[in-house]
Symmetry: C2
Subunit: 352 residues, 2 copies
Amino acid sequence: MKLVVVGATGAVGSVIMAILDERDLAISELVPVATARSAGSTLAHRGTTVTVRLLEPAVFDGADVAIFDVPDEVSHEWAPVAAGRGATVVDNSAAWRMAPDVPLVVPEVNPETALAPARGIIASPNCTMLTLVVPLAPLHRAAGVRRVIVSSYQSASGAGKPGVDELWAQVRQAAGSPEGTVTAGRAREVLGTGTAFAHPLALNVIPRIGSAQVGGYTSEEVKLAEETFKVLGLADLQMSATCVRVPTMVGHGVSVHAEFERPIGVEEARAVLTAAQGVELRDDTAAHVYPTPLEAAGRDAVFVGRIRQDPHDPRALAWFAVTDNLRKGAALNTIQIAELVASRLSDGQQGP
Amino acid sequence: MKLVVVGATGAVGSVIMAILDERDLAISELVPVATARSAGSTLAHRGTTVTVRLLEPAVFDGADVAIFDVPDEVSHEWAPVAAGRGATVVDNSAAWRMAPDVPLVVPEVNPETALAPARGIIASPNCTMLTLVVPLAPLHRAAGVRRVIVSSYQSASGAGKPGVDELWAQVRQAAGSPEGTVTAGRAREVLGTGTAFAHPLALNVIPRIGSAQVGGYTSEEVKLAEETFKVLGLADLQMSATCVRVPTMVGHGVSVHAEFERPIGVEEARAVLTAAQGVELRDDTAAHVYPTPLEAAGRDAVFVGRIRQDPHDPRALAWFAVTDNLRKGAALNTIQIAELVASRLSDGQQGP
């Protein structure tokens, strides 16, 4: 199939290119696309080089699938152009996720929704939501989830390459500064601030991601809840999220407290998660085995550990999960969706 | 009064010495005490120097108050020695906090319990618990708390000076390393590990603090719950905590979800917290005003922001709070308790 990757030179786009090299999606032609700043440069692809093209309608001619990792407004404009030329769009922005006629797909959870996208557009979810929902979905199938309280530990790369660059610059500033200065009200001056984050992120945590919304929740927290409702098909799930940026480069963590319809113990939860697709257990607290961002980096699974039954409510479980937000949280999920589309296309070619 | 400070040269002890200089506790004699490694050295105190003495029974002779910031086992052995010689002990370890005949005191919450300690020992709570309970207590008095779900963002200094030194060493390693290496499974090798933390902490989060307990909770999580129950006097409070170390130097954060007996909105919560002792509101999410560790460092208040009413439960509030764990979370709270004891002593001297 002919695959177009729009945003191929960005933080997630680079990971998409790397993962395509690792997996066996049958690609007859790969077209990386970017803005004028990168167009004309070349990228490695499965032992050859491919030239980055400028985003224009003609790049989608004859394309089977177009993966987009671009800002919402670019996707809003260009996804319909690609779909109009016959490509199935797999979009990683927030532009289409909540549209009623656009499926929001987590291949381990609701793959069937990818098979007939009404508008030719399939949305891939928010990276923190994937960390939450990949283990939550099988537990929900087992015991029926009714309430989720979640606090996140999100890395700088969730803000793209500018986020990573800004945190690296601040880490270098911190390393070169006298120890006392960063903890004596002089942090902003010593560490510096940039455009990705409103406060210094090195040696700090920032409990706001996205914009402030009505009711005090942020856009990131609203997305996390709404996308969870949509993927699980649960309009009446109760959820309250707090999204926090922490000074890690890669890997989003979530501390989850979930109430189910019936009692569920740690052993049953472990059995369910061991059998679940896309989940790896790291759950031996006594032996210091639990998910961490540095161990999740570069890996594909959602890692789950610290599984506990609420001592006051046998129907509630707590756990901690981490996934590489650039891989499963973004690039890998879009490629898994493209693989679902490819299998549908090849089924179609085989005829009835 | 004669004040003894045991552990005066440690991470918290140094802050105790600094805060004593700032506040007006009437001290006739100050005796700093430490182990053999520091005994004989001198410390600055209110414009003079005082000599650090070795821990032995005689240092408590004639003492009115002895503040202890030492490991649990040292406190277990030596607090009764000091109390036996007539000093009122204010202890910052976990050794005495849950003893039924030892009051656990947060001066803003339950100062009355400090007035007549049966064994001559008063315990000061865990630093994360203080960040939780200083705003929770007035909200509880207003609306009756019945359930708390909390996830923490705890700094390296919670593990003392070894924790701070270990994180600084790793930050310097990270700053001198190629960017890719810390995120490609080589973190342990590149950043190094030490004795304070089981995994690299720089550019990472570690979702275990303390030892693993029955049921999968950690000792830190159990302490956080039990101390909250004791300070609020609520044996039937439902609580589930997840304690996570993050790569900050100073300042413990908590993401709190609390259910109350009746509906409580954001405006009422803000009014309660504005009137509360020891709390400062930082609650304007749209303007990027919310608590952060770097802004809390070196300050005395518990900073509270991101106050939200749960969209699915009008009886539940979420908020984010941060305090300097070395000051209010440890040193300041013990000094505030010493001030309560001093006022009791001077009331007693005035006679009936």
